[in-house]
Symmetry: C2
């Protein structure tokens, strides 16, 4: 059994990688990351660092899809230099279900490429770190999304790749505790969408991260502005 | 109403482009092509030629996703220099439902990126030239595939992009007659997967093309080996 794990470098995907490697017993594990023109591409340094801790990961690949960043610039604060990444509390109620930090159809683009990669290497499954707490704002992090993507893949006549998203129904604080048990070093993960020297502590992903640490009663090892 | 049309440069997509432009009355029409490391990337010259005939196409963009070709090399005769594009009659019965000319999950990759492009420009619909005659070998050209991709997109909370594939239930010879009525110049389309100087006349796509012309009682203007 062979698996692909999507590793962005954030806390969800780092935890996911350790969970797959240390708990699930796959024969071959591949890690995929994406350079898509994200402002916070320093997350890729964290992704590489996490993969390098695990000799079970037989291939770590960064797919350059910067053309994706080009075509979505203008439509997302993550790929457009002229759109500021807002603080979570500055996002209006009406925008909260698809905030400026949403990047058009990003997760389907990533999963489609991951499936092509998986199919080309006879992998069975793609692990995807969609997190329950992200579902307020990102339709492409929901369990329904994962189910419907899987519904597409079942049409494949030879290799029906399956997406698994084990954290899509898990509290982020519980995921954090799981990761600590597995030995994840969260000082080597990156979440902040602004991608500056220090994490901002106010963008949507920083807020979620800090809340998870607070709920778990643990201090986040990252430095904040 | 704004539309994106996927234009590969083959006869299906050239016909589709003319059909959308001349019949359907969209306010803005964008054409998308993909450079993915395909051996027959001379199809892109034809794609550009076709788009250039129609002033209604306000933007023609080639997305460079050669990384996709890299990750699927080894798994497809279209992206791997070491795998020969077979003649249709050399493909075994057991391989015919997913032949060597199938490229892993290609059409989902293309449609996902097209949706990102469409969403970023407030387009409503993506036109996709999936052809009924291709369904024998390519699960990602079927109407079920299109329906299930649309099922994913309906989860989007702001812009529910829709894929339309008007030729997915049409005989290729009927499509050809439609294209001739619309003024498509089929001498400026490219189908052959081998991508040599002249079309081979024996690979799966050449055979389908020649059959369509034969059924329609018309001579294919392309030169064959």
């Amino acid at each position: 059994m062979k698996a692909v794990v999507l590793v962005s470098g954030g806390m969800d995907s780092a935890t996911l990688l350790f969970h797959v490697v240390k708990t699930l017993g796959y024969d071959e594990i591949y890690a995929l990351s994406y350079e898509y023109g994200q402002k916070h591409n320093r997350e890729l340094v964290s992704a590489a660092w996490q993969c390098a801790q695990l000799t079970e990961v037989i291939e770590t690949k960064v797919l350059d899809i910067s053309v994706y960043g080009e075509i979505t610039a203008g439509a997302s604060a993550l790929t457009d230099e002229n759109i500021k990444v807002p603080a979570l509390d500055a996002i209006s109620e009406s925008d909260l279900d698809q905030p400026p930090t949403y990047v058009p159809n990003r997760n389907m683009v990533m999963l489609s490429l991951a499936a092509a990669f998986a199919e080309s290497r006879d992998c069975d499954v793609i692990f995807y770190g969609a997190q329950a707490h992200d579902q307020y704002g990102y339709w492409d992090c929901t369990t329904e999304f994962v189910e419907r993507i899987n519904n597409v893949f079942t049409l494949n006549r030879k290799n029906k790749i399956r997406i698994e998203a084990p954290f899509a129904k898990m509290k982020k604080s519980d995921e954090l505790k799981l990761g600590l048990d597995l030995g994840v070093d969260y000082s080597q993960t990156w979440s902040c969408y602004r991608g500056a020297e220090k994490a901002c502590g106010e963008c949507p992903t920083c807020i979620e991260r800090l809340q998870a640490f607070k709920e778990a009663g643990i201090t986040d090892p990252l430095e904040y502005e």
